[in-house]
């Protein structure tokens, strides 16, 4: 059961951590879903071409920089609305990957690896834990991390002291591009295939997890773990509880929202108590 919880939460944690870095820089990356799709496709395309798993993941991480740079080009250089750019990235990824799939592999459907993706069961969890440590240390123990957070909260201060805001926002986008792309790559390699719709809304859930975790790495880790716990319980409940499976499928979302509202209310009450 613990393994199930870690499996359920790690991928979301990995995506959410990158999204968190971008969010803390002042750009909410709505395009995570598209980044995942790109990563999933690139990883499988590389493996089909004979690239070993680790090298495929490394190149997939680099591939994640491309949509992030595109995002930055529109949102930071050309001042397009970041929400619209994020949505456009999602649409673009959903449209371009089938086109690339058709051109390179002759199919718009699934691309399968006959022997599996070559990554182990724990690859996602290990990567997510490493990413959590790196993001936490990066945001709170380094000067660029401090400036990135200031870019999101007091950009005028940063500008007044001669440091560019947008370079840190671009850094945030690039980090989110790398993590979401690696997450997409790990997802497809673990499945052993690229499939249409492979991201399955994980980019959106990751955005929710960022706020459930109060925009802090450890909080995001706890929120992802909680979501994974409830999801694993819902999966197990299908086998042991006499409730229609379709009802149980909604459980993770209902419980997570309920928990979030309860925790927010408790926290607000706690803060209002006189000292």
């Amino acid at each position: 059961m613990i393994g199930q919880i870690l499996q359920s939460s790690s991928l979301l944690l990995l995506i959410a951590l990158g999204g968190l870095v971008s969010e803390r820089s002042g750009i909410l990356n709505i395009g995570l879903e598209g980044f995942i799709t790109v990563g999933a496709f690139v990883a499988i395309a590389l493996r089909v071409s004979g690239v070993p798993p680790v090298a495929a993941l490394a190149l997939t991480a680099l591939a994640g920089l491309l949509p992030a740079l595109l995002f930055g080009l529109f949102a930071l250089r050309w001042d397009a609305n970041p929400f619209i750019v994020g949505l456009a990235i999602n649409l673009l990824a959903a449209g371009v990957t089938p086109l690339m799939s058709e051109v390179f592999f002759g199919t718009r459907g699934s691309i399968r690896l006959s022997g599996g993706g070559g990554v182990g069961i724990w690859s996602v969890s290990v990567t997510a834990v490493v990413a959590l440590a790196v993001v936490h240390a990066g945001l709170y123990r380094t000067l660029p991390g401090l400036r990135l957070r200031i870019a999101g909260e007091q950009p005028e201060w940063l500008r007044a002291h001669g440091a560019g805001v947008r370079r840190y926002q671009l850094l945030g986008l690039l980090v989110s591009g790398v993590t979401a792309s690696i997450a997409g790559g790990l997802l497809s390699l673990r499945i052993g295939a690229y499939l249409p719709n492979v991201s399955a809304g994980r980019g959106w859930i990751a955005l929710v997890i960022i706020y459930l975790g109060y925009r802090k790495p450890l909080g995001v880790g706890a929120a992802a773990l909680f979501f994974g716990l409830v999801e694993a319980m819902a999966v197990r409940a299908q086998a042991v509880v006499a409730v229609p499976p379709t009802v149980l499928l909604a459980l993770p979302y209902v419980v997570t929202v309920f928990a979030f509202v309860s925790y927010s209310a408790w926290r607000r009450l706690h803060q209002q108590e006189p000292r």
Binding site: G26, G95, S110, P155, P196
Partner: protein, 361 residues
């Protein structure tokens, strides 16, 4: 305070941004053009024009590949028949509109499609668009003089899958454990799944051993292979050593979980042994290409009994189990192959009868 440092657009920049987005959208449109297939030449005068409406996309869907193949085979035997394939995409809410447009275009005498939800949609379209006839595979409807449906006996098909799963879980095959437990993962719950497939699967397993437990789970969609992998892993943790997967794109997740844990997967509707040799060890079949071919030829010849519904099963050679694939023969002990041949013979000769219940009736 966030986002307040973003300066206002100027008109030139707006125009530039709009142009760049237009180029990006044009790239996406190219995908749609690929999806729509290549335009076919105008049919000759007096021809019989068949449109195949695919509620989804053809690529990656064996069911729809068989549908298109069956229609094309039937049409090839007649010089005056044209076939155009139209893909409706994955958004089910747009299918009725797409089907209506197709029927109202006056470019088709017959529309062939396949999906349990299509009879109701076709009936709605037939009420507002005259003349066009509908041949619907894998659906059931009677009483509409412009619609003929062909339903496959999925109780027999699921029975075969369940029987084989029962044989595997009670066998000494390397991936089988000592627990008598098998799994069924469905993409979603729907009447045929709950009332026919699950029932038939359980009947088949219990014919081998009434003590076999069936772990039934639902993915909630037809594409999330990652979630399917996690559900399948949980089923295996609880003791299922063989899982029948009917979850569309989610099937790949079940295969992946079985590969990691050394258990088995059963395929449904088409031969799946090449998907993962040694892991996919059984495939129950619906020979939709054969059935569609025969129905298309009958429609061209004017021999379809419109307004009626047909149910085809093992005895009609429309439902079966692939016992001949080399990967199957390599993975499965000969005595289990013999058991499957025997049960198929009993279904074919009527020694075992499994009537297909009509969903919702």
């Amino acid at each position: 305070m966030r986002y307040t440092d973003v300066p206002r657009y100027d008109d030139g920049m707006k125009t530039f941004t709009a142009v760049v987005f237009a180029v990006l959208l044009a790239c996406m449109s190219a995908t749609s053009l690929v999806a729509a297939g290549r335009p076919e030449p105008a049919p000759p005068a007096g021809s019989y024009r068949i449109g195949v409406f695919v509620p989804g996309v053809v690529d990656g869907s064996p069911t729809y590949e068989m549908l298109v193949r069956g229609v094309r085979q039937g049409a090839q035997e007649h010089s005056n028949v044209t076939v155009t394939v139209v893909e409706g995409g994955f958004n089910q809410s747009t299918w009725e509109e797409s089907l209506t447009s197709m029927a109202a275009s006056r470019r088709y005498d017959l529309i062939v499609t396949s999906n349990p939800s299509m009879p109701q949609l076709a009936e709605a379209v037939a009420a507002v668009v005259p003349d066009v006839q509908f041949l619907i595979m894998d659906g059931h409807l009677t009483g509409n003089e412009r619609i003929h449906t062909i339903l496959f006996n999925q109780r027999e098909q699921a029975f075969l899958s369940g029987y084989f799963a029962g044989l595997v879980t009670t066998s000494g095959m390397p991936g089988a454990n000592n627990r008598r437990r098998i799994g069924l993962l469905a993409g979603q719950e729907y009447p045929i799944m709950n009332e026919v497939i699950l029932v038939g699967y359980r009947e088949g397993a219990h014919r081998v051993d009434p003590q076999i437990a069936v772990d039934f789970r639902v993915l909630g969609n037809w594409f999330d292979a990652g979630q399917a992998q996690e559900i399948a892993a949980d089923m295996m943790t609880l003791g299922s050593d063989v899982i029948l997967t009917i979850a569309g794109g989610g099937n790949q997740g079940v295969v992946s979980a079985a590969r990691e844990r050394g258990t088995y997967v059963l395929w449904y509707d088409d031969t799946g042994y090449d998907e993962a040799p040694g892991i996919v060890v059984g495939s129950s079949l619906v020979r939709q290409d054969n059935a569609t071919y025969h129905a298309t030829v009958a429609a061209i010849r004017g021999e379809i009994p419109w307004g009626t519904a047909t149910i085809l099963g093992v005895a009609d050679d429309a439902v079966g189990f692939d016992l001949e694939h080399p990967e199957f023969l390599a993975a499965v002990p000969p005595h289990l192959v013999g058991e499957m041949e025997a049960i198929l013979h009993e279904l074919r000769t009527g020694q075992v009868t499994l009537e297909m219940p009509i969903p919702g009736q």
